[in-house]
Symmetry: C2
């Protein structure tokens, strides 16, 4: 995949292919590598599915459905960016299985500035809120864009304190969805002075399982993630885990062990996260971090064009899958075959309705 | 120096030599190695000083003064232990320049059980106090003796919570001195059920500069030191620094960066101290710590018996000294000579009144 601006029609085809049921993110990029464009994949999709075995109920949304979505987004000033486009966040494009297309509202130039994610508890303490504000303001003044999730508590404070210097909110619902409802004013400010992004369809109302998926976008957009207050088993810890999986720096603000809201952050520090007391600590820990480059070998990551998967490998990959999502790297180790061929096998299995590939670089057996 | 129980007279001579003005701790142990006993050093002291140049106003206290001190200690049930005696804490004996003799009140068997120091702010928060109590109680129940400094705040809580399982207080003043005054009851409890130690003379009232000296005894008595709350530039951080210099583990309980009482502990964690949330964390971090052995090569540490110091080395060591105490290791590097010869040179210079050797393994130019 080369870095490449698309025409409106090409971009619409990216969106259409990405909204196709039965095409997971690995298969998406694998097919893209194979065919060279989303348009070409869509043209051949019926034949592809037939060839793969036909159990997959793959069906692309109609062109007019996609046009309606693009129009609805446009009505509120939102546009789309495909993962190959120069304006798409290079940081986000570098993660495994990035959102193929994101809707963007506001100042999209923020997407390619050095950034840090600041996330934490929705029920943050007064001290946690103040910490979020102070960090966001000072890091913003140091030239970093603040990424967060527009949630109550730490997220909201982080955005509000960095509206003047640059802030991005990644939403779990559609780009037009204001959640939580009391953040209507913040949403408007972000649309006007900051930036909002979403990989969900316009009008989509997020459910509980959409937030972890969104959290990987928060960490993916940023060079580093700072956890301000996070209880055990909290969403912030999920964001931290994604950041680590994405090879990004994780930092945490400590708290008293007797405060449940500090448990998650303290745990992270124990596990090696940098202990943060001030914006200077963040800047120090970020010294020498090279921004991910966009021009990584996508073919290596998503399978070579036209890879011919030996039937034995296809069987081995099928057997390696379980109903629980497994990391692709683990499957590669299990079947002991080249990464690109395993990805090609996963794509074939997904097209055949036997596998599901997930955001974040995992795959499971279709059930 | 061999591990060896002393007769009352020999112990009194250890005390007398250790209370001799102009005999710093390095010179004390150096001479002991050279002469084989404190008694022999005392016998030859006038000749030694004459030979060394005579500028040193070295003068041992009279035998009767020492007998009076021992009697005064005995009146409150305190006894003395020399660093070579089996009952003296093996942990403490292993530090550089340990107190040659300590006064002990209470259960001296506690001195040779596995122990952990728990220190922190005198003006600790309610949360810090509770943390100290919880840690002391649980670590005590796990079989560890709790060492602290009998101060207000964290120290007092740590002792009180471990009276049933074993606790040692290291005092800055004499073994008979109750400080702070409001800890009269705690002092009595420690004397009855725990253990009190002091390297100061009976009746001695501690001044500000005595507390750092005492803090090295706290860390020296313990296998590891846990800091509960510590502001920047606090005594607890001095204890932590001593622990590190003594090669002991340092651990710290984190707190909010907005709480000044957490600054010191957070700083320690940044520098590599284990982050402690619970007694289990302490136990985990202590796994595999081998207790210091008593039978370290004292001759290596304090100079070989009868080492003949070349005049050129004596000059080089003299020139390496400054009015600010310098670590012996640094002097060794500067003059590029064997450690034992440098120690011998320092002892000769101290006897000549040109150097002062300090507790904690430093030396300075006499001024």
């Amino acid at each position: 995949m080369k870095r490449l601006a698309l025409t409106g029609g090409e971009r619409a085809d990216w969106l259409r292919l990405s909204r196709t049921r039965g095409i997971g993110p690995i298969t998406f990029f694998h097919l893209l590598e194979q065919y060279g464009s989303a348009t070409a994949v869509l043209d051949d999709l019926p034949a592809l599915v037939r060839k793969a075995g036909g159990k997959n109920e793959t069906k692309a949304p109609s062109k007019s459905d996609i046009d309606r979505e693009i129009e609805a987004a446009g009505a509120i000033g939102a546009t789309y960016l495909a993962a190959c486009e120069p304006s798409y966040s290079a940081c986000l494009a570098a993660i495994d299985a990035p959102p193929p297309v994101i809707a963007v509202r506001g100042d999209k130039r923020l997407l390619n500035k050095p950034s840090v994610a600041l996330v934490g508890a929705r029920d943050a303490s007064a001290v946690g809120r103040r910490m979020a504000r102070d960090l966001a303001r000072e890091l913003g003044q140091s030239g970093l864009v603040i990424v967060s999730g527009m949630a109550r508590g730490v997220d909201g404070e982080a955005h509000a304190a960095s509206l003047d210097t640059g802030t991005i909110a990644a939403l779990a619902g559609g780009i037009d969805q204001i959640y939580p409802p009391e953040h209507g004013r913040l949403y408007a400010q972000l649309a006007e002075r900051g930036c909002l992004v979403s990989e969900s369809p316009v009008g989509y109302i997020a459910g509980a399982r959409d937030f972890p998926r969104r959290n990987r976008v928060i960490s993916g957009l940023a060079l580093a993630t700072v956890i301000v207050e996070a209880a055990e088993r909290s969403g912030s810890l999920i964001t931290a885990r994604f950041a680590l999986e994405q090879g990004r720096e994780v930092m945490a603000v400590p708290g008293s062990p007797l405060d449940p809201r500090a448990k998650g952050a303290n745990r992270l520090i124990k596990q090696g996260a940098a202990l943060i007391e001030s914006a200077d600590d963040v800047l120090y820990a970020m010294e020498g971090i090279a921004p991910p480059t966009f021009d990584e070998p996508f073919a290596d990551r998503y399978g070579a064009p036209g890879a011919d998967v030996p039937p034995a490998l296809l069987r081995a990959v099928r057997e390696a899958l379980s109903p629980t999502p497994t990391r692709v790297e683990e499957i590669v180790r299990t079947v002991d075959a080249p990464h690109r061929l395993v990805l090609a096998a996963l794509a074939e299995l997904e097209l055949a309705g036997e596998a599901v590939t997930h955001v974040g670089g995992t795959a499971s057996r279709a059930v």
